[in-house]
Symmetry: D2
Subunit: 163 residues, 4 copies
């Protein structure tokens, strides 16, 4: 059993540039590369659940993510996720987290870009997963949000509380 | 008053390459650039206390850092610091943190390098500063260390607990 | 009068990530940033003619590029251009270059990505513009192609001679 | 036989950060990584002659580089070299190039840094090696210098002609 399980679901964080057609696509997760660059020594298990743009996620996708959270042997789970519907998945997991601390996190700019926020956000998620009480949370923009009090402001491209 | 004060003291994180002599030097802190890349929306005050390699810090430097911690109007303080003597400064601040949550953080590879761990580490520090009880801590390698139970293993270039 | 005129027309080289909608878009050219990073001391004039994906270029666009080539006070002209129809524009300019050395160049991966080929390709173009006889050329993949003997192999994402 | 031989001699271009002691060191050449990023399809042979800071090169080092130039089966040779004494090595090779086109090139900022000029300079060298008449040359700062009319201006960190 690892200390933290990372459930990869896709999102901007893992998108890369396909030089043949000029589109941003998913080919694989970059989490191993990211944690190597981060010199992370936490014992981590990485599990790719799906590689999806969160705009394309349907209810069955969110149920599958919840299922993988609950199936994890670890108590601390980081879920990488597209930003557009991250709050929706967090709200699903929150009341059913069953004693686990689940932190959803993503990026506004892919890891493969020069100016990505992926590493910073993932750092926020790692501390949060280790320090927070059971429940579901989002770490974006340097802040920690409870799953029942967060939305993405799409005009600003930033996360904020509901009130 | 900001939500988090960042006290900059130097260390590998802020070193840059001087192309005229090929040496790594300090010219200024990169914290503003880093927080912009991170899309951080936390209200932050950045204060440069010194720009030193932590191997060159003397007792007076550590006392000055503690003084600036205590003078901060904010309760949450992140101190960027060279890794070599970071545990020593944390041990000084720990028992004298006076109700503040102080998180020391640095990098093994400068922010100006392609493969820097600076953003990840700083993300860890931001969550930790917001979530931990008063006291002094170190966030490195994805882990959170209490100030009285941490050392740098210089052979491995990693932080670990004493026991 | 500068030594080299750069006519910017768009293409992958100048595309950036729009974090609000996740699309690759044009906002401005990065040529000044690129030449600063390159520590280029050649006297350069940068002129943005258009910012287009070359798949969307029509005949009038190519005529406009030719017109700006011929209007340039400089004898050496570098044209940044999307790769998909770069050979077509080169073929138009070649026979009408009117004593100027014109080098078309682009990138398979945008400058804003970690692993961009933009800087290398532009370096190739700079030497070529200074060393070649009048006419039109393409520098891609480390090679120098004459305007009448080059095509893009879209399966490989590479430039090659016709024979 | 390749089309271009690259003789690696060290210099800033290939320096990397040693995170254990904070020093810039040589461990291996990055030329293969650089040419992969550059999407270079030229047939290239890479030969590491030495990995030295050019300030530490002695006459025997320069003679060895010349010897490897002359031993190359290829007519086009790119020599990666530290910038500080690059003109000195170019002057040695120039009159003894024996029908080969030899282009010396380096970087002011290591390839492993975010803002390196290595890719641009190497692109300049590749075109120059393919287009120039036999002799020795330097490509730095976007310019092409003959081996008998070039010096490094150390105050500016730039290459310039003697006159």
């Amino acid at each position: 059993m690892a200390d933290i399980r990372i459930l990869v679901t896709g999102g901007t964080l893992d998108k890369e540039y396909n030089q043949l057609d000029g589109e941003l696509v998913f080919t694989k997760t970059h989490l191993t590369d990211i944690l190597t660059q981060a010199k992370c020594t936490v014992d981590v298990a990485i599990e790719t659940v799906m590689l999806k743009d969160s705009l394309h996620m349907v209810d069955a996708d969110r149920e599958l993510i919840l299922e993988r959270v609950l199936a994890a042997p670890e108590d601390k789970v980081v879920v990488t996720h597209g930003t557009d519907t991250m709050p929706e998945t967090a709200r699903l997991i929150g009341p059913r987290a069953n004693g686990k601390t689940v932190v959803l996190v993503g990026a506004m700019v892919p890891y493969s870009f020069v100016n990505s926020d992926a590493l910073f956000n993932l750092g926020c998620a790692f501390s949060a997963a280790q320090l927070l009480a059971p429940g579901a949370y989002i770490t974006m923009n340097g802040k920690v949000f409870a799953s029942d009090n967060v939305r993405k402001n799409r005009q600003k491209g930033e996360f904020e509380t509901l009130d």
